[in-house]
């Protein structure tokens, strides 16, 4: 599709991936680990957004909440209930960690939907780091809390004895694939959605298909708003499910 657009207009060049470039904010070409880049800016904005919603929004501590406060309470209740339903009472003490992940992802996703924004969660480096953190936490927690019993996660007691080794291999593989699927699901969704938006935006420059393109951008944007929330939800609920395995390894 991009090639067609180029063919029609000649001069039109689409750069749907340029929006994902990591660039230093204050000049310079090299990106060292400490360089202040657009990643820094948009992550800082995510912190600001989280603070605005959950700290400033609740600063009045009203019994009858304001709009912002009730949204904050809604987010709190949403994640808290999800965690409690899946992991039970024992999982509630990990609530701040899960809430941190959820709030960061949901804010980064929505901030990324602003025009000209940089979407931090569209980068596999970011999502993979978070997924690996969850994976390592769950694995370490599983062994610390249950000892060798944690390996029972891979030894399916309900299955016939002959099938158990086979199932163990499958379970083990699926366990190690978790961080991969966990991270690529979020990063891939965000990247693909934003790239498609950019492609449609490029088509809007062609007069003949501009109306269709604009309508398509509207539709895609609505879909992306949904995806922004759903992906944050999915990442968080999977974190809860993995956490449940660490807390109650027996099937």
């Amino acid at each position: 599709m991009a090639t067609e657009a180029q063919g029609e207009e000649g001069g039109l060049v689409l750069h749907p991936m340029d929006q994902f470039k990591v660039e230093p904010l204050f000049g310079g070409d090299t990106v060292a680990w400490y360089t202040i880049t657009n990643v820094t800016l948009w992550m800082a904005l995510a912190i600001v957004a989280v603070t605005a919603l959950l700290v400033l929004g609740t600063s009045r501590r009203a019994i009858v909440p304001s709009r912002t406060q009730s949204v904050g309470e809604l987010a709190y209740g949403f994640v808290y209930k999800m965690l409690e339903d899946i992991t039970g009472k024992e999982g509630v003490k990990y609530f701040p960690y899960v809430m941190t992940l959820f709030m960061f992802i949901v804010m980064a996703n929505f901030l990324g939907l602003l025009p000209m924004a940089f979407t931090t969660t569209s980068h596999i480096a970011v999502t993979a780091t978070m997924a690996l953190m969850v994976f390592l936490t769950v694995t370490v927690l599983g062994f610390v809390l249950n000892g060798a019993k944690f390996l029972g996660l891979f030894w399916v007691q309900e299955a016939p004895l002959a099938l158990r080794p086979v199932l163990a291999i499958i379970e083990l593989m699926s366990y190690f694939v978790r961080p991969l699927s966990h991270s690529i699901r979020l990063g891939g969704n965000m990247m693909a959605g934003h790239a498609v938006l950019k492609v449609f935006a490029g088509f809007a420059a062609v007069a003949a298909i501009a109306p269709i393109s604009v309508i398509a951008i509207g539709a895609m944007y609505a879909l992306e708003v949904l995806v922004a929330f759903v992906q944050a939800y999915v990442f968080t609920i999977l974190t809860c499910v993995y956490l449940k395995d660490a807390l109650h390894p027996s099937h």
């Binding site: 941190t100 480096a125 780091t129 978070m130």
Partner: protein, 179 residues
């Protein structure tokens, strides 16, 4: 969607060096470093300020609601109590009123009886007096008849030419009147 992305990525790769910025490993350390900074910052903001505050607000609201419900139940019980007291007072007042009515009735009856008795007495006295007078008048009349009869008898006897004995005439008249 995927094909588009790949095509676009391919083109970008032709134009610019890094291709998919997601696969440019030179930026990974930067992203991971800032991600960790961000997550730690959000974690501390949430666990130190936001989450305890929201938990407190939610608990307080729950407390307030249950308190209000308890207070409402209390007030309801009080209202029922007040209604009972009102009904009891009403019943008491009714009994009292009945008692007063009965008392007054009895009093009036007593007064009436007294008045009746007095009136009866008076009537009886007057009747007795009247009877006495009638008897007097009757007695007078009888005496007068006797007198007249005696006189007449004397005159008749004298007219017949005989000297009448007063005593004999009187006896004869008395015997006649009795008979």
């Amino acid at each position: 969607m995927a094909t588009e992305t790949h095509e676009a990525a391919g083109q970008a790769a032709e134009a610019a060096a890094p291709g998919m910025p997601q696969l440019d490993f030179s930026t990974y350390s930067n992203q991971i470093f800032w991600l960790l900074v961000t997550l730690v910052a959000i974690y501390f903001i949430l666990s130190r300020i936001a989450l305890p505050r929201i938990a407190a607000v939610l608990a307080e609201r729950k407390g307030t609601i249950s308190n209000d419900i308890a207070a409402a139940e209390d007030l309801k019980a009080k209202a029922a109590e007040a209604e009972d007291a009102y009904n009891k007072a009403l019943a008491d007042a009714r009994t009292e009123a009945n008692r007063i009515v009965a008392e007054t009735k009895a009093e009036i009856k007593a007064d009436l009886d007294e008045a009746m008795r007095e009136a009866d007495e008076e009537i009886a006295a007057k009747t007795a007096e009247g009877e006495k007078k009638i008897a007097e008048i009757q007695a007078n009349a009888t005496e007068s008849v006797k007198e007249v009869a005696k006189e007449t008898a004397k005159e008749v006897v004298a007219a017949m030419g005989a000297k009448a004995d007063a005593r004999t005439v009187t006896a004869a008249v008395n015997a006649r009147l009795k008979g």
